[in-house]
């Protein structure tokens, strides 16, 4: 099992509600700002994108890297976080 960060566990442990995009695992201040500029100001909007991509973590990772300049680790972490959230709550 891969080790998850506290942020990941916090996010995946409960419904996301209105949490900011920076609550997502892998998304810090800089990436969060970039996403907000693109219109993805809440975690659920990013979730929307994840769902549009049919919960495909690879596609989502590619998209996130393109749109925010995230590196592979950050994008992968965010994708995994969303995937687990979906598995738990969707």
């Amino acid at each position: 099992m891969s080790t998850t960060s506290q942020k990941h566990r916090d996010f995946v442990g409960e419904p996301m509600g209105d949490k900011s995009v920076m609550a997502l695992s892998g998304i810090g201040g800089i990436l969060g700002k970039k996403l907000e500029e693109q219109g993805f100001d809440k975690a659920y909007v990013v979730l929307g994108q994840f769902l549009l991509l049919k919960k495909d973590t690879e596609m989502f990772t590619d998209w996130l890297k393109d749109v925010s300049g995230a590196n592979s680790r950050q994008a992968g972490s965010c994708a995994q976080c969303l995937k687990e959230w979906c598995d738990a709550f969707l």
């Binding site: 769902l51 991509l53 495909d56 596609m59 590619d62 393109d66």
Partner: protein, 194 residues
């Protein structure tokens, strides 16, 4: 290929299906990503559902045999009939065309191959200067190559310890052994001390 950004969402969706790319709806936020994926797939030269394999690979297996079987008599024929340019020239256009025509000329030239074996090899560069022979050999090589590319690629990077580390270790062991060996004393020198 027409500009991807000019295509309708439906067309993008169809293109993605053709390249076998699993995808969701093509909307504003996903379109850019999907266009990029299609470009990558095109660049890699992936086969789409609607593009059949080119004819040359279609006949690969037969081509193998035909080339092999056909080569030797042609070689022998070429070697033997080199002086006889008339019959040699007449057979060459046949060779460029269909297989059965090739086989026909094969059957008409039933020379023993063995006596030409030695010369065949030497004469090969001359005979195979021509585009047809080049095409034959490239026909056999390219499909195999593309088939082998996929299985070979994943196997290239699978070392736990990088190669250079292994070399360094080997060198270190060799140097160590050399030092040990060179510092060994012989019987003579011992006697000298006494």
């Amino acid at each position: 290929m027409a500009l991807l950004s000019r295509k309708t969402a439906q067309e993008i969706s169809e293109l993605l299906d053709e390249y076998g790319i699993k995808h969701g709806p093509v909307v504003d936020s996903t379109r850019g990503l999907y266009e990029k994926k299609i470009k990558e797939a095109m660049g890699k030269g992936k086969r789409t559902k609607y593009e059949p394999l080119p004819d040359k690979t279609f006949y690969r297996e037969e081509e193998d045999e035909v080339t092999y079987v056909y080569r030797t008599p042609v070689r022998s024929e070429g070697a033997g009939d080199y002086r006889d340019s008339g019959s040699y020239m007449s057979s060459r256009p046949n060779w460029n065309e269909r297989e059965f025509q090739q086989e026909m000329s094969y059957s008409t030239y039933a020379r023993p191959r063995s006596e030409y074996r030695g010369r065949e090899y030497v004469e090969e560069p001359y005979l195979y200067d021509k585009t047809s022979s080049y095409r034959n050999s490239s026909l056999t090589s390219t499909p195999i190559k593309s088939g082998q590319d996929a299985p070979k690629a994943p196997q290239s990077k699978s070392r736990l310890i990088p190669l250079w580390v292994q070399f360094m270790f080997f060198l270190a062991v060799a140097v160590f052994l050399y030092i040990v060996f060179s510092s060994m004393e012989t019987n003579e020198s011992l006697e000298g001390i006494e």
